[in-house]
Every structure is written in C-alpha cells, then in structure tokens.
Amino acid sequence: MKKNNIRFLIVEDDEMIRIIHKDFLEELFPDCKIFEAANAAQGICLYFECRPHLILLDMMMPLMGGETFLDILEEGHRTKILKEKPKIVIVTAIKDVKELMEIGKRFSVEAVISKPLVQSQLKALLEDWIS
C-alpha cells in the first residue's frame, strides 16, 4: 500500500477514541483520508461509498456491532460481489482468548489489538503494510 492517498475507516462508538485514532493516523500519514463511523451500520455504508484500504474496527457498539460488519464483508467476498479485500485491524476490549482467536480467523482481519490501544503496536503494523 502506498502512503499517498491512503484511505482509513474508523468504526468506533466512543468519540474520544475516534479522535485519538484519527490524530494518530494523521500524524503518521499526513496525506491520508479518514472516514469515521459510530457503529457498524454507518461503517458498512462508508465502506461501500469510500472503499477504505484499512479499517480500524471496534467489536462492541450499540445498534450494530463489529461482528455484523465482518459478516457482511465475508458474505460479499463469498458471493464475489465484493472485489477488493481491505485490511481490517480489530481494536477490542474483549479479553476471552477463544473469542479473540475466532475473530482473528475472520475474512480480511489482519490483526487483533486489545484496548486500550497501544499505539506503538498499531504503528508497527501500519509501517509494515504502508510504504
């Protein structure tokens, strides 16, 4: 992935955390575009409208959680309606190891990071993918 014009989507209900993610990404990639969603429903709509390369996804959110987001993209991929494969980083407060492992196996999920987010972990991942 090239760092010019890279598009990020942040799906997270907590506005403070969204701002922290956003500031962090903007500092790392000044030319990036960032889209924000407060739940998975907004996230899905933004996904299809803006085609982000990379998604930071929270799992537990009101109205619609991250699980549904993954279910929709997975079905889109299975039925070949969806052509591209974004990179998804799950940022979650879930502590159950089995549950975390299941999430890690889902379509397009490249990494699962626990909350509160350690920015150096995310930075290391992003720098690996984006040049």
Binding site: N39, A41, Q42, I44, C45, L46, Y47, F48, E49, L63, M64, T68, D71, I72, E74, E75, G76, T79, I81, L82
Partner: protein, 138 residues
Amino acid sequence: MNAHSTKSILVIEDEPVTRTLYVNYISKLVPDFHLYEADNVLEGACLCFEKHPDLILLDIIMPDYGGELLLDLMEEGISKDILSFSPKIIVISSIESAEELMTLTKKIAVASVIPKPLPFDTLEELIKIHLQMNELIN
C-alpha cells in the same frame, strides 16, 4: 438512481421457490430491468451497496439476520448523509402484529409494506408508483 438509464430491482428472499416466483413475475412485468437476487440479507446488503438498485423487495423474516438489518443500514446511511443513493424498499412481511407493522412503516428507507403471501396486483401497482413509471400505469 442508476448510473445507466436501465432501472434495476433487487429481490431479497431466503425461500428459493418464493424468490423465483417474484423474479419471474417482475421480469415479465418489466423485461428490460436489471434483476438481482439474494437469498440472505447479508448478500442483499452487498448487492444493494454495490449495484444501487432503484427498488428492493425485502423479506423480513429470514434465518440468521432478518430483513431489518438492511433497514438499519439504510436508516443510518441516509440519516447521516453517507449514502449517494436511496432505493425504494418494499417490505414483504407476514408479521401479523399491527405494532410491528407500524414500526416497519416508520423506518426511513421503507417505501411500502405489503403482506405475505404477496398480492401481485398490489405489487405491480407499487412498482409502477415507486419507479414513477407513468407510461406503464396507463
């Protein structure tokens, strides 16, 4: 509306026989329309966002995720001004409680609610009204 002048309709229904019935009916009614089919609402949502159909026939009661999922997606997408398109959704529902039907009718994206089994005459009229096909009404 569609980028091309051809209109399109998406049918989301889990029951294959019923779905075929709807599709056959619609393709006879409006032969030059694009028709898309989905057997679950997850696939339906992907087709909806990818193909921007003008009209969607949506079954409400389906296994796993029900039709409400698409209504929730559209409601957020439309009310938050995220979506660049806004299909008319005709909800097909065998729900019998008046309260549930009213809740469905109030959803932003829902253009009409019709009962199941489907009255085809009503469907024909609704398709023409929602797609403003005046020439076909007369």
